[in-house]
């Protein structure tokens, strides 16, 4: 029951503890060189893709649209943040390193620029549905790519170098927690229900008083913000940006992660993003077979589980614990002493 305070605080406490435990463990492993730099790099890349995939799930899985311009938003965020971090610097404030503050602010700025673009493109594009929206967003992604290629500040086709390697596990993990928490908390509120109702049936949603345009824009803007954030993380991970990084191939890759993981499942997106980032790396040794195995994986999953690995199911630590201790799930119920006109009804008639 979504309105239950105690259950919510218990769950939040549990999840916070689990996140902290995971964070501390991995950080220790990195510090103790159990995870070498190669593995840490892959881990960071996984987190970057998780941020992008979960945010795409908001428009794709929950809102039920088919946007193909996610890389465009990532590109905007990445370039914005990279331009800021390469041009400005912030002195250390006491124990807080200025460089970290700058990276945080640049990432947020990248997200906001992407979000503004999301609203601007969303206003005209979201009047359209399905294939038409897909084509418009595809075109948007290409426009951004060509634009980046032809203006000076981004380094043009030469690319943009000299970006500091600021993305580390802590930042990746922080933004992953942010995007997962944001999506989860939004989806389980009246606004999230409105977004889901748009996916289910637009005409019915509008007939019960849902402002379609508003909620489409909200979902689109939220997704664009975190796409921008993941773009910034990506830029400061590979340290060198070129327009080709954010081609439509990347949009498709994100879409594959979301669909494979399950439309409308945050945990599904996380799992799929992790698997699809790690599998190509693991298969590095069989370079010739890499793409075949990767593609085969997709075909097999789509044939045997078309709703994606997780469907719309979410992994939940709280549910797991309830299962282990065989506690009952709290199903919403009317209070015991609730009386309705039922009995009096029958006496009258």
């Amino acid at each position: 029951m979504s309105g239950n305070r105690r259950a919510y605080f218990k769950r939040t406490l549990l999840n916070t503890c689990l996140c902290l435990a995971f964070f501390v463990t991995v950080n220790y492993m990195i510090g103790a060189r159990i995870l070498n730099r190669y593995y840490t790099n892959i881990l960071n890349l996984v987190l970057i893709y998780v941020v992008a995939a979960v945010s795409l799930n908001l428009t794709c899985g929950y809102l039920g649209q088919l946007p193909l311009g996610h890389a465009g938003f990532m590109s905007l965020g990445g370039y914005t943040a990279a331009i800021i971090t390469t041009r400005f610097s912030i002195p250390d404030i006491g124990p807080i390193p200025g460089q970290a503050v700058l990276f945080f602010l640049a990432t947020v700025a990248g997200g906001i620029v992407a979000m503004i673009a999301g609203v601007l493109i969303g206003l005209p594009a979201l009047r359209l549905k399905g294939d038409y929206l897909a084509i418009i967003t595809l075109a948007f992604g290409e426009i951004i790519r060509v634009l980046v290629q032809n203006i000076k500040i981004t380094g043009g086709a030469m690319g943009m170098g000299g970006i500091g390697k600021y993305t580390n596990f802590s930042w990746g993990f922080f933004w992953t927690v942010m995007v997962v928490a944001f999506t989860f908390l939004l989806v389980n509120s009246r606004h999230g229900r409105a977004i889901k109702s748009v996916r289910e049936d637009e005409i019915a949603a509008e007939s019960v008083g849902i402002n379609l345009t508003y909620y489409k824009i909200v979902a689109f803007a939220g997704a664009a913000f975190f796409a921008g954030v993941s773009g910034s993380l990506f830029a400061h991970h590979i340290c060198y940006l070129e327009p080709g990084n954010f081609g439509y191939n990347m949009s498709i890759e994100m879409l594959v992660m979301v669909v494979l993981g399950g439309l409308g499942s945050i945990s599904g997106s996380i799992i799929a993003a992790t698997v699809l980032t790690i599998v190509p790396e693991v298969l590095q040794t069989f370079a010739t077979w890499k793409m075949i195995i990767y593609s085969l994986l997709l075909v097999v999953v789509m044939i045997f589980k078309p709703s994606g690995l997780m469907g719309d199911f979410e992994l939940s630590a709280a549910r797991l614990i309830r299962k282990i201790f065989r506690r009952k799930e709290d199903v919403p119920q009317l209070p015991e002493n609730y009386t309705e006109g039922e009995e009096t009804d029958e006496q009258e008639t």
């Binding site: 309105g3 908390l185 409105a194 889901k196 289910e200 509008e206 019960v208 009317l334 309705e340 009804d345």
Partner: protein, 281 residues
């Protein structure tokens, strides 16, 4: 839910209907004047006039393709009218979006059920309560007290509404997995959740057996009495229409061919002709 214990007698009013005496001096909840719509060259609805009292149940009948559902779509502005005025509670609906019409107090169900199938029964009703809840996106994401206050109240309200049809135990079911009759009832509950003053039912008895129809008849009256709202329904089941409606409008080829109480309509030769055709002579 407050019940109105006694219903006042029916009295005739200028619109040609019989109206409850208690409703006579109030503005009608729905007033339609010279409503018309063209699809290209085709005149789908022409010169449609009617008024509906605060707690009246009216029926809209007519042969297939007469334009009944079109009238509903015009009322909720899913189709913009070409001519005429629709007034809900005295306010003109021209240029309003369907979701704004809903906020003005019109709720509807659909001929082919349109539920949010992959969501639970409770969620379906709570989407109907969307505009009753007041908290912003920020308050939702940071889980501020107003989120919990609103959600708690609406959970109870949703269950209370479901208990109207004795469906409170199905709250956690997926809406798409409900049996057909329950899906129809859930659609009505979802419509009622928006706190309407006028409920539009598009063929509520379609696909129901006689005993279910009888149950539905009772329920429509209960809805009117307990929620004190007006109901306008499209229906082909004449037993239901004649049994439950205070006034009936008969539509054929987009035009009103008859209007009046069930008794008048049943014996009206024009109506009989529209349904059965003219005797060859």
């Amino acid at each position: 839910m407050n019940r109105k214990p006694e219903r006042s007698p029916l009295v005739p009013v200028p619109s040609g209907f019989l109206m409850r005496e208690e409703d006579v001096d109030k503005t009608p909840v729905l007033e339609i004047r010279h409503l018309g719509v063209d699809f290209g060259g085709l005149v789908a609805v022409e010169d449609f006039n009617m008024a509906l009292g605060r707690t009246e149940i009216a029926g809209l009948i007519g042969p297939n393709g007469a334009g009944k559902t079109t009238v509903f779509n015009l009322l909720t502005n899913e189709i913009e009218p070409t001519r005429g005025i629709i007034m809900i509670d005295g306010y003109d609906t021209r240029g309003k979006k369907p979701y704004e019409i809903c906020r003005m107090g019109v709720a509807r169900t659909f001929q082919n059920i349109r539920l949010f199938k992959n969501m639970t029964v409770l969620e379906n009703v709570k989407i109907g309560l969307h505009n009753e809840m007041k908290y912003s996106i920020g308050e939702a994401v940071f889980r501020l007290p107003r989120y919990f206050d609103n959600e708690e109240v609406s959970d109870l309200r949703a269950l209370e509404l479901l208990s109207f049809f004795n469906m409170q135990d199905m709250a956690e079911w997926k809406a798409g997995s409900l049996p057909y009759g329950a899906q129809r009832r859930l659609e009505i509950v979802r419509a009622l959740a928006t706190n309407p003053s006028l409920l539009l039912l598009d063929e509520p008895a379609a696909g129901m057996n006689p005993s279910e129809t009888l149950e539905l008849m009772k329920n429509i009256r209960r809805i009117r009495d307990e929620f004190s709202i007006a109901v306008l329904l499209i229906e082909h089941d004449m037993n239901l229409v004649m049994g439950v409606c205070d006034g009936i409008v008969v539509l054929n080829y987009g035009k009103i061919i008859a209007k009046g109480s069930p008794e008048d309509i049943m014996s009206d030769p024009v109506v009989i002709e529209a349904y059965l055709g003219k005797a060859d002579q």
